[in-house]
Every structure is written in C-alpha cells, then in structure tokens.
Amino acid sequence: GAGVSQSPSNKVTEKGKDVELRCDPISGHTALYWYRQSLGQGLEFLIYFQGNSAPDKSGLPSDRFSAERTGGSVSTLTIQRTQQEDSAVYLCASSRSGFQETQYFGPGTRLLVL
C-alpha cells in the first residue's frame, strides 16, 4: 500500500512569507506527528494528532506555527511570516494508533528561508 507522502519535497521562500506543508498519512492511521529536523540536530517534536481528540501542540516553537488535520486524514503545517531559523526538514509520520506503534515517516519537506 502507499506510504506517507509529503508535498512539496522542497520549498524555497523569502523571509516573511507564509508556507504550507502537506502530509498524506497512511490510510486508517489515527495518529499523525510532525517533526522538525535541523542540520546536526535530532528530531524535534512539533505536534501530534490522535483521532478526533484535540491535538497536542506543545512542541510548536512559536505562534507562527499551526497545523490542522482535516477529516482525520490529510494534515497541513502552516508557518506564517517565515524566519531564516525555520529552515529545516519537516517530517511527518503516522501510526495505527499511539506511541507504542511503529511510526511510518514521509520523505520530508526541505524548507529553505532566504
């Protein structure tokens, strides 16, 4: 079956612009995670969606970051007024249910803010 897909694969934007990153999880997976991977750093947790529950937004670094998940499937991560420090690879992962399940990662979106 299809894996997790993300789009775009690469995004170059100018400082101050807004960007939207998309994640299509594996069908039937109730859990969806966004992470940020910066050069030389590990994976930084951003946000977690589980079914119809309110998302856990505790990892979002600022109020410029937001995410939504429509219909329990596709998710969009939005970064407003981008800054150069937002440059990173943004990874999406889904799993059948919660933390004990294997996560399946998308290929990531590489964001460069000029």
Partner: protein, 116 residues
C-alpha cells in the same frame, strides 16, 4: 526527566566487523524503545522496537538490540557490517510531552560509517 541519549555522534567500523550504536534512556514506567534508520535524502525507516518480552529484539536488515534494564540501555548491534549500512541511526523512547501526550522522543542520531 524523560530522555534518550545517543552518546556518539559518529561510529566508524570496517566492513565485516561487528557494529554497535549506543542508546541510553531515562523514563518513568515501562520504556517503549525504538530504532529507526535514515538513509541520505530519505525519511526514517523503522528497524525494531522493544515493548515487552524478550530482552533481545531482532529487526530488519540483520540488526538487533538488547534491552538492558539495569543499565537503562538499548544498544543497536549487527554481527557483520555492510557498506550499505552507512546511514543515520535514531533511538527513540516513549516520553511525556508538555501537552500530556505520550509520544516517541528521538535522540540526536548517530552517523554510522562503514568503510570498505
């Protein structure tokens, strides 16, 4: 505090030799431990996990890991390294987010370089 540590940024090993990538953790309650691998320009792929049961866990591509409760470690091992094993390896553990959810929390990663 709940955390996971990978003490080595890089591990170098000759092809055919055994390899070990280290991971230690600090959690309250039962640990749920994972290893993922990231090949260049690709997303992370699951290797293996420990939830309960046998301390020795076998995973993909000939990798295995041993859960050691007394040493709070979950080191990744392979008896004979291949050049194609060269990649970035991440250990993850269940941790409690600031929002109160249990989520996988990842170490900083260890770059494994296997020399021909």
């Amino acid at each position: 505090a709940q955390s996971v540590a990978q003490p080595e940024d890089q591990v170098n090993v000759a092809e055919g030799n055994p390899l070990t990538v280290k991971c230690t953790y600090s959690v309250s309650g039962n640990p749920y431990l994972f290893w993922y691998v990231q090949y260049p320009n690709r997303g992370l792929q699951f290797l293996l996990k420990y939830i309960t049961g046998d301390n020795l866990v076998k995973g993909s591509y000939g990798f295995e890991a041993e859960f050691n409760k007394s040493q709070t470690s979950f080191h990744l091992k392979k008896p004979s390294a291949l050049v194609s094993d060269s990649a970035l390896y991440f250990c993850a553990v269940r941790a409690l987010s600031l929002g109160g959810s249990y989520i996988p929390t990842f170490g900083r990663g260890t770059s494994l370089i296997v020399h021909p």
